[in-house]
Symmetry: C2
Subunit: 405 residues, 2 copies
């Protein structure tokens, strides 16, 4: 009886393909698995710091490079990786093919630098799989209907890998330089514990709250199409964390994890004349500039004005200041300030849904330890604070000890 | 009355786009000409040493990288250049579009690393020209019918530029780091003179004989389609050399120029059993390995054996040695040796066709000055010698002085 081969999508990030030696190392692992009969689609990012070098080149030309040309430029990074990895695989005596995003059939909209995958034409990938080729695909990139090369933005290679797994109906393994998902960042808090399993929802909260293991978009796609995802170390020697649908076998802790975001810019606007139109127009303008807004909190109106805070990434500061200046011209009464000396601290746990008292326990902990918090937001399974950067370590220690993370 | 815009293809080599500053410099010149109403298609090579770096990366993976992956890897070099140049043009307020070889419709055969252009679908270029965009095209690369990225080999960007000019029925200007075609290499012989005009035939001889200004394939295409070509300095401040059909206005010198090829490997085979089949089979094997053979000389048979010499490029040494070993196994009698301590010296002049005595004048010159020559070949308008590297400077001086080059 002929055994049907299993198909898996593997994804390797920039560190994993950071040097010829590392590329040869992962080629060895890929061919080992191929020799065991697995069909493999391998998605790779650009080598280590190569994207930074390309960005620098562009900025040496102009401070405001056109996004379309920027995509064309940056996409060369993954093209180099796929060529080298495919060479390394062939050098080990295996059949392999290297495909750019366009060649792999990844069709996106034309929103350069932040494109979204609209459709994947898998015919070329399937043709090569049927010929027993290891298929190496450039992450992070696609092609628009106009035939222009696009990039998927932040975490784009994860998005490529999970989207391919979704359409090929197979699991995906994300190899990275951490060996799994931890209760909190082990580089910051040495006693952090590795999770064996985590639900999509918790993973999404952890990721969107700043755990830099996987980008939220990729997790969302994984969740939507129920793609089994494993996050594991790129040295292949330890078991990683499985991300899957929540089931009864999962341990139900009140708090699963805690994340910290350093790259955090808090915007506070006071005395906005109270009409909901004003606030929605502000966010519409921000969205039009493709600035990603993270935490939003608005307090109830008082004296016919409302106060509003939100956080975003520091690199959007210039664009935001321009928007706020225009907003102030329209509404003379408002007062705004930006603060980038803050970090965002988030605590996540599926148990929060059913157990009350987590928020009050956190508030007490922070106040007992003299940790000032500024903005506060909550979701069903998380609570987030902005705190002063200097309080970061104290907050982590305090919360991790108390919730046994 | 509306004036019809003239269309010109400009080509910039690796040195011309070697740094962001140089790219900005040529963007300035391109937009200056565009502002004067010219329609422009600009073909660029990879930045300076970037191709060498990519080759090094590949060789860090494997000593024998697959050619298909190599093409995918190397083609990123020009992709970076077109993205940066298009950014620089847009930064000066002009409309521009950057196209890879594939996007520009350059369709080739599947002979990776030495592909030939089979067809150019100019629809996308023409669409952008009609919208008054400056069209920036990646040289050196194309796409095969299978959808794989190919490269055109040695001098490929010149081939791209001249082929585009041929199909677009317009002139091409090749910008380089020399300011025109000289009677001999001015870096080697300071008193060399710049030519104002040269015929395709002479240019072809000079190029195929080692003048590294333009690759022969590009000149051949230019000749075939009568593309007016100008070779000029990439600083845009001096007049270059025009390559065109021979006409009566051209000065008829016996000898137009002299070239030297350093990268020269001479193969000599003695005592080949005399049947023309033996020699033709040898060259068939060499051609199958895509080794380019340059000078060939065979002496008339003697004692039923023939002696044969030919030159090729040093990088093909390993492949050649393998072929020769096999050839020796088949024909035990033969004796062969390879010599790479030689340079090839060639003297070119359309006047040679009609004026006799040039060869004998050269032979005398060399012997009078004690310059040993090994292989000798002639064409209608050229004569070539291999001489010892140590005699190089003496030979140049002697011939240039005598023929007033």
């Amino acid at each position: 009886m002929q055994q049907k081969n299993t198909l898996t999508v593997l994804k390797f990030g920039g560190t994993s393909v950071g040097s010829p030696e590392r590329i040869k190392r992962i080629a060895l692992e890929i061919t080992r698995r191929s020799a065991l009969g697995e069909d493999l689609v391998v998605v790779v990012s650009a080598m280590g710091k190569s994207t930074d070098l390309l960005v620098q080149l562009a900025h040496d030309i102009t401070p405001t490079p056109c996004k379309k040309e920027m995509d064309l430029l940056l996409s060369t990074g993954e093209q180099v990786s796929i060529a080298l990895l495919s060479m390394a695989i062939k050098d080990l005596g295996f059949s392999s093919v290297a495909l750019t995003g366009a060649q792999a059939g990844i069709k996106t909209d034309a929103l350069h630098s932040k494109a979204r995958i609209e459709e994947i034409d898998t015919s070329r990938i399937l043709k090569h799989l049927s010929k027993k080729h290891i298929v190496v695909v450039a992450g992070f990139q696609g092609i628009s209907a106009e035939g222009d090369i696009t990039t998927l933005g932040r975490g784009g290679s994860d998005t490529t890998a999970v989207s391919l797994a979704a359409i090929l109906k197979c699991p995906v393994e994300i190899f990275t330089d951490v060996d799994g998902v931890y209760t909190t960042d082990p580089r910051v808090y040495a006693k952090a514990k590795k999770l064996k399993e985590i639900s999509y929802d918790e993973m999404l909260e952890l990721a969107s709250l700043g755990a830099s293991i996987m980008e939220t978009r990729a997790i969302e796609i994984g969740h939507k199409y129920s793609v089994p995802m494993t996050i594991a170390l790129n040295t292949f020697d330890v078991e990683g964390t499985i991300v899957k649908e929540l089931d009864d076998t999962m341990e139900k802790k009140v708090v699963t994890g805690m994340t910290l975001t350093d790259n955090c810019l808090m915007v506070s606007i006071a005395m906005i004349p109270y009409t909901s139109k004003n606030v929605s127009q502000l966010f519409a303008t921000i969205a039009k500039e493709h600035i990603i807004v993270d935490m939003i909190s608005q307090t109830a109106p008082y004296n016919n004005t409302v106060n509003l805070s939100f956080t975003t990434y520091k690199e959007d500061r210039l664009a935001l200041e321009e928007i706020l200046r225009a907003f102030k011209q329209e509404h003379n009464s408002i007062d705004y300030y930006l603060d980038d000396q803050l970090v965002k601290l988030s605590v996540v746990g599926i148990g929060m849904v059913s157990q009350s008292g987590v928020a009050s326990r956190l508030f007490s902990l922070l106040s007992d330890h003299d940790i000032k918090f500024y903005q506060v937001t909550t979701s069903e399974i998380s609570i987030s604070y902005t705190i002063h950067s200097s309080d970061k370590m104290k907050a982590i220690q305090t919360i991790a000890d108390d919730f046994e993370l």
